[in-house]
Symmetry: C2
Subunit: 370 residues, 2 copies
């Protein structure tokens, strides 16, 4: 019988995620499965919780990976915190802000939005004005907007909300592991991420953390969480305490992968990892500009790990991506929504952010564009 797995090629993953994975993480994924209630697995769970707290700069007890991809983290944050008719403000400047709006509306929230041009950041003063006009239970924003390459001013928005009872909810899918996140200092109450971006682990888990304020909101709900699978009040009983209650079977081997990916980041040192992302981002931008290409986002708001480049006039962007993938074994991403056809999205996430990858992509682009 033909086995398709034998034909998997070694692709340099420079799209918007998944990113390149260290061999040690692949090895981790293939370690022997043990039971989800095995005391040794619980030690691994506890280590993952501690490592996530370190990386997020938080003391939050409820800091765990959810059993799904990054989007399940978004779903989990909203479904645990939103009750029908709750007023929610979503700050939107890309696909993932729009997704937050959709998720919250489906759950019955009354969602207001503030929208900003795709490719530009959220304007803090606009948020200040909006929250002065109306009280929101939740204010939600994407830290690193993967669809545009824009970094939003998460710390500054957090400063506006300090002292209020509003829950501050942040999407850190693409930022975690690639740039500083200071959850407690920035006043973030609920955060989620994914494994397949700067953590450089294959997709499948969604790290999540809730502050005491968010946990209190969960505990004071008038109605049950309308999602058994993602109900954190049940899941907590599996992830903390002396005796662990079975909720659902945790994705054992994915946890091995995440554990190893976190170890690699902590061994290199988070600050060194962030500097490495920034350094190769600058190298990449320099190289792209030397090829005559221009970046979508203004320098002050650029993400190091997601570089959006304008497609030059007259170039068939899909053909370039296809050639890069087929002939050069390099994957880059297309634009989404209003930016479809207009930009490429080049990822420098986690293990991908290295000199040889930058050089290889620039060489391939040069050969194909000119």
């Amino acid at each position: 019988m033909e086995n398709l797995l034998d034909g998997i090629e070694d692709i340099l993953l420079m799209g918007p995620g998944p990113s390149c994975v260290h061999d040690k993480v692949y090895e981790a994924l293939g370690k022997k499965s043990i039971g989800h209630l095995d005391p040794y697995f619980i030690r691994i769970m506890d280590a993952i919780k501690a490592d996530l707290r370190t990386l997020l700069n938080t003391e939050n007890t409820l800091t765990i990976p959810m059993s799904g991809t990054g989007s399940s983290g978004m779903e989990a944050c909203f479904v645990n915190l939103v009750e029908k008719d709750d007023p929610v403000l979503v700050l939107i400047n890309g696909v993932f802000g729009m997704r937050m709006q959709d998720v919250a509306q489906r759950l019955g929230a009354t969602v207001d939005t503030l929208e900003f041009e795709w490719g530009t950041p959220v304007v803090v003063d606009a948020v200040k004005t909006k929250i002065a006009q109306k009280h929101y239970k939740i204010v939600a924003v994407v830290h690193a907007e993967t669809s545009t390459g824009v970094k939003n001013p998460v710390a500054e928005i957090g400063a506006l909300l300090k002292g209020s009872d509003t829950i501050y909810l942040v999407d850190a899918v693409t930022s975690l592991g690639g740039m500083e996140i200071d959850m407690d200092a920035w006043g973030i109450d609920a955060i989620y991420s994914g494994t397949q971006k700067c953590l450089s682990c294959p997709p499948g888990l969604a790290p999540l953390s809730f502050s005491n304020k968010a946990v209190a909101a969960l505990e004071n709900r008038k109605t049950k969480v309308p999602n058994w699978y993602l109900d954190l009040s049940l899941i907590m009983k599996y992830w903390k305490g002396a005796t662990r209650a079975y909720h659902h079977t945790a994705p054992i081997n994915m946890h091995y992968g995440l554990y190893q990916a976190l170890q690699l980041i902590l061994e290199e040192g988070p600050d060194n990892v962030y500097r490495r992302h920034l350094h190769f981002h600058h190298e990449l931008v320099k190289g792209l500009e030397a090829l005559g290409l221009s970046m979508l986002v203004a320098p002050a708001s650029r993400l190091p790990m997601l570089n959006s480049v304008r497609v030059p006039e007259g170039v068939d962007e899909a053909a370039v991506r296809s050639t890069l993938l087929r002939e050069y074994k390099i994957e880059i991403g297309a634009g989404l929504g209003p930016l479809a056809g207009k930009i490429w999205r080049i990822g420098l996430m986690g293990h991908t952010a290295r000199q040889e990858n930058v050089t290889r992509l620039l060489t391939a682009l040069k050969a194909n564009l000119f």
Copy 2:
């Protein structure tokens, strides 16, 4: 830095799942990640769909793995099919029937139940009477009740519902890959499973299939699915058609594992696999009875892959499990709910269902109990 992964032991997994994993599946998990929109990954997705259809004996187009563990499959079936106040009948004779009730109630369904003693099967005549009294949008039952080791009469209940517009929803978490499932012939409209039982892949994905009737119910909803992450109307656009629309990033490496696990079953031949389960189930029961132990479930309703054994009077069941795990490197499961402390649950799932494992467990039990 200490690496906990170095201390993972090779445990014989004879609990209620996860089960033992074939080396080829571990290898598959560690293959290089490629992009979730890479044409080669789409080939792998298509092969998984085809293999799942073969194993389920269905022609359903919508036959895919959900990006979560088995319980996310349960959540997905209900959240896509239930709207507020929909009448739902759940047949309950264990933990997983109770979970279905909880899931459906959280989604606003009006849930009626028929309950049967744990350790005994659903009685078909009782279902017949119940559905004659009231029209249900959904009738739901667990095929293999993992909490008790009981096989429910899924084909017979399906026969009662034939020709009606009721959606027949079946939990096949523990049955798929270990016993015959004839989805189309039995009239099942919505089914879900998990990878970590008889498919012998680590946990992390939930195979799911919807009949045309179930898809029509989804398409005719009056309200959006109140769960963006599990909305099958969106997910279908990623899993079928000539162009695939990004929904969420699929758990790439978990799909490699599932692909390989399905290949192993199809290579051995599903009927051979089911016979192997049944054969070693009989061997195990014979051995347990020779030790003076007795089974919870009557022979006609016993599952081959989940064997519930009564704990003998005066035996500390937790101490036995702990000794088996620590000294013999064998995991077996405890009882749940009303059966806690009263039974052990011994899994013979997928790759675990082999002579050497039966022998090793019986030897260890003998040494510890007598």
